[in-house]
Assembly symmetry: C2
Homo-oligomer: 450 residues x 2
């Protein structure tokens, strides 16, 4: 059995913790049963394991999220990235194509597609197991999860089962409906309709046939290179609405989208996460602080304060839904990123009147990881090694480095670094333009010993 | 005529903008008529000049404030610092002693003592002028300013004039009273009493005689070295209450202590100072942001958000008076300081599990200023020069430095730097203890040319 986890999102609604490269599913603000902080995607991966689904997981995402995924989930999980952003049908088709053409899965294998960030409980994954059984029993071409509504919500699409099937563990679907009006939603509840949970199960061959309506590819590289030939259309429209037979497996349990500060705050394990203090006069106030500097809240009510190297949000909880448009005013460079090799954080930056830029970063390399051999055309860098042990390659020469060492890397000079233990470096960049894109990479292997 | 400006305060109530070395009077959050940002002490100095008082100003303060005062007011103003903190009588006596013993002012010269941070208007300084005239006319030994009450406040001491003198421009004082109850304050208003504004005028000889009750010093150095012999007592108790004749000159006009965020917010020139955005759903909300990272306020009401390298405050305006005790929880090292030579800001700091510390600072040296020749016993420093031109002295060798230069200063190595133009340096400190006190200074003169 294969699971395709959809990992998308631009991360504006949980600003400043989320940004273009760190969507909400990567925020480590939840707590696992063992007391460790974990992100939404880490939580879903843990739950898949705990449910005993014996699934192999492929993450369908964009290139900007690849390094965060590797950093959070390790190298063991497969990642398929879209060459360009289209819609859910092309993204799912690409990952399904990867399973068929690259991984070599059989047409009979069951595939489950699901979002990577629903906040649910173990029964949710048990329901996924029943969906797989339904596909294996050929209950329908397409089986989806129906979330039992707790209110006549106007925010979800609905799935209406055929009359007379209510109460069955697998119900045939009569039709789908768009987000309804309040009155229509109340009628749908009386009809026994479910919320469409965005979880789909099918045999891989079913999806391969749909892909071939658009692209006949000899291998995955060809499929990916012709990705633009897929129509920009959602999976619901292209697949679910057109299927000859669809069944729904009901799920009754916790099912939340922690997509706004208001909804996320309800699930935070503590009122104050990070360095801060909420005084006794405050009510219903949450602080999520990724900065070192402390946050003090005095006497405020119903407020979320969130701080990261990207900025500081002070938001009334009732207003958190509408903040996406305001955040677009603050589109600067990312100030914190998770990378394949670790993380970096921007400590300070200055643009001088003559156009010269200076940027100071703290780099944290995880033990065993390395930054690739590279040159910059428009900047120089000074690296001060402040903790750990590593190997520095500079213009072909490899030396052992640690606390107290300094490297001055001039424009055009080839450099790389490998962390032998966790390694921290203060990097001061200077140049006329300081962008992540000013980088040219070269093949290089660090020697085993120096 | 001499003015002694009292500059004290520990700066907890306007945290995080104020701290141990930056009391509220140094915050550049007001606007001068010419549109420049100015601090409270800069505002008072400007107003003294504009009032045409032709006064020479001496600042009575503590050593921790000396560098901020020089940086804000320039080198032209005299600064007298207490060797230890005692009370207002010793502090005023020390500055008066400096005027008599060091500056050589005559016993007849009129001295005005006043706080350095009242928020007032030009009439206030005209009143100071009338107080000087009253002393010169020998109206009393001691003349003080009486602020006309606008309400029966219980927060101020009161000055009660002799009956029958109401309406005179100089009134003889019958008695002083402590902060009264509400009922007593209402009676005092009916008696024509004034708030004690903490502004006093007298002839220097009058104060010299009081000093000599405690210390007979041959010169100022002796007076300062024997400072501990002064009693710990306020000027009001030691001088005003004991004077044989006291007069009061009334002042009717703006007179505010911008000592809490709530009172300061009313005088801020803009709702949002610094990088930030207050959305349209917010009401009565102020942002004062000294950080580079943006602050976004969404939908909050009656809130002050203040951010500096020391921390972030989110405070309901009605609660700002009580925050002093909360702030004491956050007593860390100062993250921003004004120094004689410019400013520094801490960009980041880390303590590693083995006790090793790393601290990154941005230093800004004003053109012409220099950091003294010094060594550190417990840390090394890496300086990356990111803007401007300067001279670097390292172990006796002087070189010209500018953008792109890097200096690695090891433990015990002598170093100094002089800014030829405004100079910016990223400093990375590493060591087992990183405190401002780990510094040994040596005499050194930079050569005119290198």
């Amino acid at each position: 059995m294969q699971i395709i986890l959809l990992s998308g999102g631009s991360g504006k609604r949980l600003w400043p913790l989320s940004n273009g490269t760190r969507s909400k599913q990567f925020l480590r603000v939840l707590k696992s049963p063992s007391g460790e902080y974990e992100s939404m995607v880490q939580r879903v991966m843990r739950q898949i394991g705990e449910a005993g689904l014996e699934a192999e997981v492929t993450i369908a995402t964009s290139e900007t999220q690849r390094e965060a995924i590797t950093n959070q989930l390790g190298g063991g999980v497969a990642v398929v990235t879209e060459p360009e952003r289209r819609d859910t049908f092309p993204a799912i088709a690409l990952s399904a194509g990867w399973l068929a053409l690259e991984k070599g899965c059989s047409r009979d294998e069951v595939v489950v597609v699901m979002p990577c960030d629903p906040y649910t409980e173990v029964r949710y994954f048990e329901t996924v197991g029943r969906m797989v059984e339904a596909v294996e029993a050929d209950a329908a071409e397409l089986v989806l999860m129906g979330v039992e509504p707790t209110a006549p919500s106007t925010k979800f699409g609905y799935v209406v089962p055929q009359s007379g099937e209510q109460g069955l563990s697998v119900q045939r679907v009569q039709r789908f409906t768009e987000k309804p009006s309040r009155e229509r939603a109340e009628e749908l509840l009386r009809e026994g309709a479910f919320w469409n949970g965005g979880v789909f199960a099918f045999r891989l061959g079913y999806m391969v046939d749909i892909i071939e309506r658009y692209i006949h590819a000899a291998d995955f590289a060809e499929l990916r290179s012709r990705y633009g030939e897929f129509p920009k259309i959602s999976f619901d429209y292209e697949v679910a609405e057109k299927a000859h037979s669809v069944a729904v497996v009901p799920y009754a349990g916790a099912w939340k989208d922690l997509g706004t500060w208001n909804s996320l705050a309800e699930e935070l394990p503590e009122n104050c996460m990070g360095n801060g203090y909420i005084d006794a006069k405050c009510e219903n106030t949450h602080v999520v602080n990724e900065l070192e500097l402390p946050i003090l809240c005095v006497g405020v009510k119903d407020v979320i304060v969130a701080a990261s190297p990207d900025g500081i949000l002070v938001c009334d909880k009732s207003a958190s839904e509408g903040m996406k448009s305001e955040v677009e005013k603050f589109d600067g460079r990312p100030m914190y990123e998770e990378r394949r090799w670790g993380t970096y954080r921007v400590l300070g930056q200055t643009v001088y009147p003559d156009g010269h830029h200076s940027l100071t970063k703290l780099l944290h390399l995880n033990a065993g990881c390395s930054i690739s051999y590279q040159t910059h055309a428009r900047r120089e860098e000074v690296w001060t090694f402040v903790d750990g042990e590593g190997l520095l390659a500079l213009e072909g020469k490899v030396t052992r480095v640690g606390r107290g060492d300094v490297a001055h890397i001039r424009r055009g000079e080839h450099h790389a670094v490998k962390a032998l233990t966790d390694l921290e470096i203060i990097e001061v960049q200077s140049g006329d333009e300081l962008v992540e894109e000013d980088i040219k990479r070269y093949p290089f292997e660090f020697p085993e010993r120096v």
